[in-house]
Symmetry: C2
Subunit: 418 residues, 2 copies
Amino acid sequence: MDIKKYMLSIGQQAKTASFKIASATTIQKNNFLNNLGERILLNEDKIIASNKKDLLQASKDQKDEAFIDRLALNKKSIVAMADGLFQLEKLDDPIGQINNQKTMKSGIKVSQMRVSLGVIGMIYESRPNVTIDAAGLSIKSGNAIILRGGSEAIKSNTYLGELITQSLKETGLHSNSVQIVKMTDREAVTELITMSNFVDVIIPRGGKSLIKKITEDAKINVIKHLDGNCHIYVDQFADIDTAINIVDNSKTQRLGTCNTLESLVISSKIAKDFLPKIQKIFNIKKIEMRGCAETKKIILDVKEAKEEDYYMEYAGPIISIKIVNSIDEAIEHINKYSSKHTESIITKNQENGEKFIREIDSSSVMINASTRFADGFEYGLGAEIGISTDKFHARGPVGLEGLTSLKYIVLGTGQIRK
Amino acid sequence: MDIKKYMLSIGQQAKTASFKIASATTIQKNNFLNNLGERILLNEDKIIASNKKDLLQASKDQKDEAFIDRLALNKKSIVAMADGLFQLEKLDDPIGQINNQKTMKSGIKVSQMRVSLGVIGMIYESRPNVTIDAAGLSIKSGNAIILRGGSEAIKSNTYLGELITQSLKETGLHSNSVQIVKMTDREAVTELITMSNFVDVIIPRGGKSLIKKITEDAKINVIKHLDGNCHIYVDQFADIDTAINIVDNSKTQRLGTCNTLESLVISSKIAKDFLPKIQKIFNIKKIEMRGCAETKKIILDVKEAKEEDYYMEYAGPIISIKIVNSIDEAIEHINKYSSKHTESIITKNQENGEKFIREIDSSSVMINASTRFADGFEYGLGAEIGISTDKFHARGPVGLEGLTSLKYIVLGTGQIRK
């Protein structure tokens, strides 16, 4: 079948379904989430069997361990998928909520109602659990969704898609509210990101280069997450123990996440106290330190940080270090090199804390807390479809509300414009 | 000078200025607005003189009356520009406002702070008053702005730009916070809408085809206003007098605005009562009626409405009419043909009103009120940079808040992720 035609028909079907799901009741949507959760638990064996086919192909294709790890489903991850749906079931329905009501001089009552965006196009790596997460978030937020997962997960996704369709039908929702793209060609992505008549927002997940490419080529709004080059600034007024604790946790609790610390900025007034202590921990945990010239004067066995180091999201056991002479210099350094994901200041000085909060241009800015907290669950969103490093529409962790919009509601009793 | 280089330098300068204006105090920003307002009033003669040069050229180029009308500045419009700035001065500063604060189980306090978007690229017709409005809105919302007005207004805009620069300097704000593009070539627009490193949002104003083209070619988020094909549905439970009043006002109070009524949808149960009455008014006011087959059965002297009529924003003395048998049919018709700007239902029936509000997918949805109310001032926003027919980021009238974003703020006391 022609890919263009195939994608167009998927787009049209999604658009039609989107009008239905937009006005589905909370009970209907929750019934679906519950039904799908139970169905997933009941069909564990079949999910694992479909996933085995993908895994077999992946090992034939000599995919690496990390890839296989993302692709693989097991009893634990299947229970986690179902639990995610049960949790979504419990969250408040954002759709139909009324905000900011006020009565104007003309007599009209103006407010804003939360509504769905329409059709989401989701492009993601070979992680079949995302299929279920994204379907659940999309339905709860009243959107139709087109899911285009990595081609290596096609067997798993196709089977999960069947379960989703069964649950949609059984709970009276339009069966095209969630559609899996079954053509694995790259061209399908090109079509998806340019069908502006049918798709309202694109959410890409995966490598930075892929997301950049999608953003460049898309003719549709994109909620994008590029990279997480996160900083901590240890201020001259930092409590040293707090700083050690938070820097250690931010860097080493998990090395590969987007909210992991990648670069440490330290006040020259505290560096001599702080650096040897954190070096001890990093040596034990085998974190390579790459420092500026000033750093190398204070501690030995440190590699030199080059300009490009400060732009890096290592996603591994390396950290860059920069010593600065003032908070202004720290803020300038961070705003220049950071990917605008998450930055934290360690300080007991309120003025410096507030200055940092105000002047750092990132989606999450923290005082005396680990960068690892930048996460939809830790922020109480209850769920997360991604973390936006953009300022437009949604910034930071994106939960249900990020998948909605506000329309103006005007209630009159016959008012006309004078 | 090379246009690409010229625009790049404007972009870089705007980016640099944007960091400064983002953290300017409310007092500084208000001082600027006041200073510029006074300066405009003081320099009325020079503004009119610069505008005369543009008007002379426009009449040489045989521009039509409507064009000249938009281009011309006079004492009254100059006072209005200054008043707009004085009103902006009085509005609350959105920047730095803290929302949704909550304390999580981990002990961290999470909230959202309103911040500016960065750099706005504004593209607009030959209306020099927009130069002042947009500069004021941009500064108050903490953004830098690049203004690219119609080439026919270049003399007026250049002079207004000088006044803006003087006021920026005199009140201690970065002089590149507002920049006027002085190269009138089309290529300047192409550069502006693709400089994604320097520009954060594009706001185009003008004809539908221009906006469509800009949206298609832009590599940057666009807050766009396409057309206003607004509908009123006269429900079977409408109060006839209210319906007559509101339909008359919505269509005839001003013919050329985007919130003017373009298409009338009427319940078949009330059409026989309603149509002859509204026809009387429309005949007096010389509004041409184009109706469906059912309409033509009820009233005479009505042209036939063709399929394309229902898609039209006439922006003139014509209205299309469609008779439907149910509210569901009305909603389906409107969601199909409307440009998703503004629609109103006239009804005394609460259930139908609520259904209309819920199911109509437009930026403003009204009950028993004139579509002419869809306006930033009427909604109490205090100012308006445009009306968004998009769902993404901002929908409906866009005031100061639509030019901002929310960043997450996390306040800890040493918390680490477990």
